[in-house]
């Protein structure tokens, strides 16, 4: 395959970053914006070309028979740890990668475009575009990684671009602390991933995905470790679980989710790009990428399922109580990603030919579209009312029709209403879950219902409920075209994306899978649940009334806890500030200053003190001198005599 396009896909964003980063200060906003958008647009076109080529060209590199192949476009040595362990920098093209290329470039392009309007006149406009380009580069590098170490590298880069973008408004302390939190939490998770890679690479002396997932490799590992286990898990399980920890961090799984809601301090386009569509699904992508390995260890998959399910429910419950609309969307994102995780966790070759995997990827795709749409819509709202809280909104449908309609489409899609895209992907996921165990199926169906409920709660509170009196002073209006255009296009995509024959393109083993909707067993019940939830939301929130308060009063404790996100932040605060900072760090610092350094100083002090103490020897009187003299000589003789004779 031609190397030009893949290389350009990576090169354009990083070049843009360098140009805008180094010379942006000297450019006008307009020039910087156009450069950024053009760059991303080109990248998008290239990515589409590559993806199209991959899926539809029928090139024998990409498909053999019906099976889609993994193709390494290029792979150059970057760093050689040892003859066995080599880190390469390359471009691996396979179904999920191609899909991710499309998702990332599309969303990124729209966000670039959208930002032109949204960030109009902001100080640091050029910087914003530079960071966006950096992020796009990192994310693209992540998805095309040929080996786990390359992935880890870009994983870190993604983290740092996220840090920079969350902290874009660096004058506001809350943004600064949010960015810090995001970075540190994901960093902590990455530590797990790093250790996982360490373990894995020790037993399987390669980083390369194709080699890692090649048949027979994992068995070789298990054989080489002689069945060694640690706390009940095999070496491989531990490695995989640890690697998944990294994914938990990036994808904001419980208990490492706390950074994501705070990350909403960043500009809204950023939230749409990073914290809804692309970066946060990196965890899912990671598991998908190493899926054949995970299949070797069901324990690890069960762990993923468990974490995902708990997170999904947790996030959904919390989302029902949040005031900040971006936080609601954030928790919804957590919940949806957890869905994908569960779906991956329950994927088994024997259950619907590994449907869970396909469904998860499908949802990843559709979710990216509608969640980006929702976030961008939220951005338009915030742009209009200059507040993140729904209490500052209400009754906006008249003022902002485009936003209203596109937002509604987004809500319907996420709620899983036929025929919007969310329905299809969610349905596939649910069937996979039911196929694995009814318990998880029901559980996740319930979560799906909650999703519908909180999304419509949000929708109603924003667009219906009660008109906010502030509008008289400041009449909200729809956003400029740069912002509206992406909304409309994304809404359109959300409407039709469900009909993409996803199973033909992406499956766990490359063999096509024919999607069929299990209406009776899965689709109808979930649809019903969603509809009921929407109705409930309609009743409670369509007009201003006291029902929500009453509902909250039924379980006040639960409501308060959910409102405070079940006190996770407080717990973390306690651990980090009170224990790690105040107890561990401070005591170590104290220990260092007073004990270690004190000892060193004590040497000096003792020397000084001794010097002072023995000064009497030098009393100034000759007689003392002579006394010492004589006694010295006598002692010298006496001691020697005693010693040798």
């Amino acid at each position: 395959m031609d190397l030009t396009l893949p290389i350009l896909i990576l090169a354009i964003p990083i070049t843009m970053f360098l140009i805008l980063g180094l010379f942006g200060m000297k450019m006008s906003h307009k020039l910087a914006g156009i450069l950024g958008i053009l760059g991303m647009g080109t990248t998008m076109v290239l990515a589409y070309t590559v993806a199209f080529d991959y899926f539809f060209s029928g090139n024998s590199l990409f498909i053999s028979g019906s099976e889609r192949l993994q193709h390494t476009v290029f792979d150059v040595t970057w760093l050689q740890f040892s003859p066995r362990l080599v880190v390469n920098f390359g471009f691996l093209l396979d179904p999920i990668c191609a899909m991710m290329l499309v998702v990332i470039t599309t969303i990124s392009f729209f966000v670039h475009l959208y930002s032109w309007g949204y960030m109009e006149g902001e100080k640091g406009f050029q910087r914003f575009y530079a960071f966006l380009s950096l992020f796009s580069f990192s994310m693209l590098g992540l998805v095309v990684a040929t080996n786990i170490f390359q992935m880890y590298i870009f994983w870190e880069l993604v983290g740092v671009s996220s840090y920079l973008l969350i902290g874009f408004y660096y004058k506001t302390p809350s943004a600064v602390s949010a960015s810090k939190k995001a970075f540190i939490v994901t960093r902590f998770a990455d530590l797990g991933m790093l250790i996982g890679i360490l373990v894995l690479s020790f037993y399987m002396p390669t980083f390369n995905f194709i080699e890692l997932t090649a048949p027979g490799q994992p068995q070789a590992v298990l054989a080489s470790t002689g069945g060694a286990t640690f706390l009940g898990g095999s070496v491989l399980t531990w490695a995989l679980v640890l690697i998944f920890t990294g994914g938990m961090g990036k994808s904001a799984m419980l208990p490492l989710h706390i950074w994501l809601p705070d990350a909403m301090e960043g500009p809204t386009p950023v939230s749409a790009l990073i914290h809804a569509a692309t970066m946060v699904v990196a965890g899912v992508y990671l598991v998908a990428r190493m899926f054949p390995l995970y299949l070797m260890e069901y324990q690890a998959l069960d762990f993923i399922t468990f974490i995902g399910a708990i997170t999904a429910l947790y996030a959904a419950v919390v989302a029902c109580t949040q005031v900040d609309i971006k936080r609601v969307l954030a928790f919804s994102t957590i919940s949806q990603i957890a869905f994908m995780m569960v779906s991956l966790g329950v994927a088994r070759p024997e259950i619907h030919e590994g449907l869970g995997y396909m469904a998860s990827m499908f949802h990843l795709f559709t979710h990216a579209m509608f969640k980006a749409l929702l976030f961008l819509g939220a951005g338009a709202l915030i742009h209009a009312v200059h507040s993140n809280d729904y209490t500052a909104m209400g009754g906006l449908r008249k003022y902002m029709p485009i936003t209203h309609w596109t937002f509604l489409i987004g809500c319907l899609a996420i709620a899983g209403i036929y025929p919007f895209s969310g329905f299809f992907s969610k349905d596939e996921m649910l069937s996979a879950m039911y196929g694995y165990s009814t318990f998880w199926g029901v559980w996740m169906t319930f979560v799906a219902g909650l999703t519908a409920f909180y999304m419509f709660r949000l929708y109603y509170l924003i667009f219906w409920w009660d008109e906010n009196p502030h509008y008289k002073h400041h009449r909200p209006h729809d956003a400029p075209w740069q912002m509206s255009l992406p909304l409309i296009i994304l809404a359109a995509v959300s409407c039709v994306a469900g009909f993409i024959p996803f199973g033909e393109l992406i499956t766990w083993n490359g063999e096509p899978y024919h999607i069929h909707i299990e209406w009776v067993k899965v689709a109808i019940p979930s649809l019903c649940t969603a509809v009921v939830a929407i109705l409930l939301a309609t009743v409670m929130y369509r007009k201003k009334n006291s029902l929500p308060d009453k509902a909250a009063a039924i379980w006040p404790g639960l409501w308060r806890a959910a409102h405070h996100r079940f006190y996770w932040d407080e717990i973390y605060m306690f651990i980090t500030h009170k224990i790690i900072f105040n107890v561990i760090c401070s005591s170590i610092a104290w220990f260092d200053r007073h004990i270690i350094d004190g000892t060193m100083d004590a040497f000096a002090k003792v020397t000084q003190k001794t010097s002072y103490t023995i000064r009497g020897m030098q009393s100034g009187s000759i007689q003392t001198y002579v006394w010492w003299y004589l006694m010295g000589a006598v002692a010298l003789a006496a001691i020697t005599c005693w010693a040798i004779l």
């Binding site: 000096a604 020397t607 000084q608 001794t610 010097s611 002072y612 023995i614 000064r615 020897m617 030098q618 100034g620 000759i622 003392t624 001198y625 002579v626 010492w628 003299y629 004589l630 006694m631 010295g632 000589a633 006598v634 010298l636 003789a637 001691i639 020697t640 005599c641 010693a643 040798i644 004779l645």
Partner: protein, 491 residues
């Protein structure tokens, strides 16, 4: 009666000749030409110094009472060089009101002490040795008392004199015991023989201890060092510098000769351990006292006490390397210490300040003096690339050659002590360069002789270590001594 034997003693005769020239000139010249004594003495002595480098023969005179060999000539030449620098640095002082009264006496006494030291080094008979030793120390007492108007000078003289007599009593007591153990002869060779034949007894141990104590006085080994600080402080600075380098250097070599040539047979039985104890005590106590001192001369006194400990490492090494390193150490020590004293003297002569506190901010007013002082103390502290580093590391190398663990431990203690010494040397540097206060010493231009002396010292400090041929030369002569059986008794 073969008086031609006196001609073997070329270096001694040279010094004696200078002594006589100065003595006669001083006695018989008119009042007006008195001041010509200084250049006369310096020029004559410089000639002797140069001549000394050509005296490389081996010789024996008076039935083995006096010997000379290349290594002995070498150490004498080194001492000559040091004494010459002292003389050059002393010019402003000796021309001052204070010194000019007794200018001639100063040179005469100095040359006699030098003569005494040479005898001490060359003597192979204890009687001659004692006479040399006394000639080296008694006139010094008179020199210590040279500052008529300063009470401290008198006090120092009293302390020096009384301790000196006491120590010579102790030394001679020791020698009387040595005599008791001999075969009736006080020649080193005969003594060594009879000691090697005899067995260890309390008498022998006591004798050695007392002899070491006697040397301890000259070398300021702890606990025989207590006079040092007071005398160094009280004596005129020129005399202090002479006392600290030349007197000490000669005694160190003589000590090596006595220990190796007389008591060599009982090295590992008796005096090795005594020396360990003394070295540890000397270095440590010297350092501990030095860190509190503010008076520069007193400070240098304790510094020289601890330096003596390092010199002694060359003696316990008891091998060619040790001997070479010790001589080299003495050479470097002469240059470094005279560098320090040169600066002290220059400042004292001009302004009268001698306290370290008065050196605050010296670099602002007298940058070159500060620079010279810094080099000198760095060299004393053993900082490369200055010569002191090489002398220290070489003496440690020599000391560890035998490979005994005890010596390693000894060297480790010495090394740890270098840290303390570095501390107090840095205090001087700190006073000069770092203290933020306004300088006390005003800017002045020191006399050209002082500057010349300092230049020589600085050149020595910088180049002695880097240019290895000097060490090579010393090694060569030491090796000759070794082949002639210098260490034969040590086995």
């Amino acid at each position: 009666m073969n008086y031609a034997q006196f001609l073997t003693m070329q270096q001694e005769l040279g010094v004696l000749a200078v002594f006589l020239i100065v003595f006669l000139f001083d006695t018989f010249c008119g009042k007006n030409s008195r001041s010509a004594v200084t250049p006369l003495a310096i020029v004559c002595f410089a000639a002797v110094t140069i001549y000394g480098f050509f005296c490389t023969g081996t010789g024996e005179a008076f039935g083995g009472m006096y010997v000379t060999s290349p290594v002995i000539s070498c150490i004498k030449s080194i001492l000559n060089l040091g004494a010459l620098i002292v003389l050059i640095q002393a010019v402003p002082w000796i021309n001052s009101e204070e010194g000019s009264v007794r200018r001639g006496e100063f040179y005469e006494l100095l040359f006699v002490t030098l003569f005494g030291m040479y005898l001490m080094i060359s003597a192979r008979h204890f009687l001659l040795f004692i006479i040399g030793l006394e000639s080296a120390s008694l006139p010094l007492a008179a020199m210590v008392a040279f500052n008529k108007n300063k009470y401290e000078s008198h006090e120092a003289a009293v302390k020096y004199m009384f301790t000196a007599i006491f120590s010579s009593a102790i030394l001679m007591m020791g020698l009387s015991f040595v005599y008791a153990l001999s075969n009736g002869s006080l020649y080193f060779a005969d003594l060594a023989e009879s000691i090697a034949l005899g067995s260890n007894s309390v008498l022998l141990v006591t004798a050695i201890a007392f002899v070491i104590a006697g040397f301890g006085f000259k070398l300021s080994l702890v606990p025989f060092h207590l006079w040092t600080a007071d005398v160094y402080q009280g004596a005129p600075t020129t005399v202090t510098s002479y006392l600290s380098v030349i007197s000490k250097g000669s005694a160190a070599f003589a000590f090596l000769v006595v220990l190796a040539q007389v008591f060599g047979a009982v090295y590992s039985d008796i005096w090795e351990w005594m020396m360990y104890a003394l070295i540890i005590a000397t270095i440590t106590i010297g350092n501990l006292f030095a860190i509190r001192q503010r008076n520069m001369k007193r400070f240098m006194a304790f510094s020289s006490v601890s330096q003596a400990g390092y010199i002694m490492l060359g003696i316990v090494a008891a091998n060619v390397l040790g001997m070479t390193s010790m001589i080299f150490y003495i050479l470097v020590y002469i240059f470094s210490n005279l560098g320090v004293f040169g600066v002290i003297q220059a400042i004292e002569n001009k302004t009268g300040y001698v306290s370290m506190d008065d050196y605050r901010g010296l670099h602002k007013t007298n940058p070159w003096l500060s620079f010279a002082m810094t080099l000198a103390v760095f060299s004393l502290a053993g900082i490369p690339p200055f010569a002191g580093f090489f002398s220290k590391i070489l003496i440690f190398t020599g000391a560890t050659e035998s490979g005994s663990v005890a010596l390693y431990v000894l060297v480790l203690i010495a090394l740890i002590n270098t840290i303390i010494s570095l501390y107090y040397y840095l205090l001087v540097v700190k006073a000069m360069w770092i203290s933020p206060e306004e300088p006390v010493v005003p800017a002045f231009r020191s006399a050209c002789t002082e500057r010349f002396g300092l230049w020589i010292c600085c050149a020595g400090i910088i180049f002695l270590g880097l240019i290895s041929c000097i060490y090579g030369w010393i090694y060569g002569v030491s090796e000759i001594a070794a082949t002639e059986g210098f260490f034969a008794l040590l086995g």
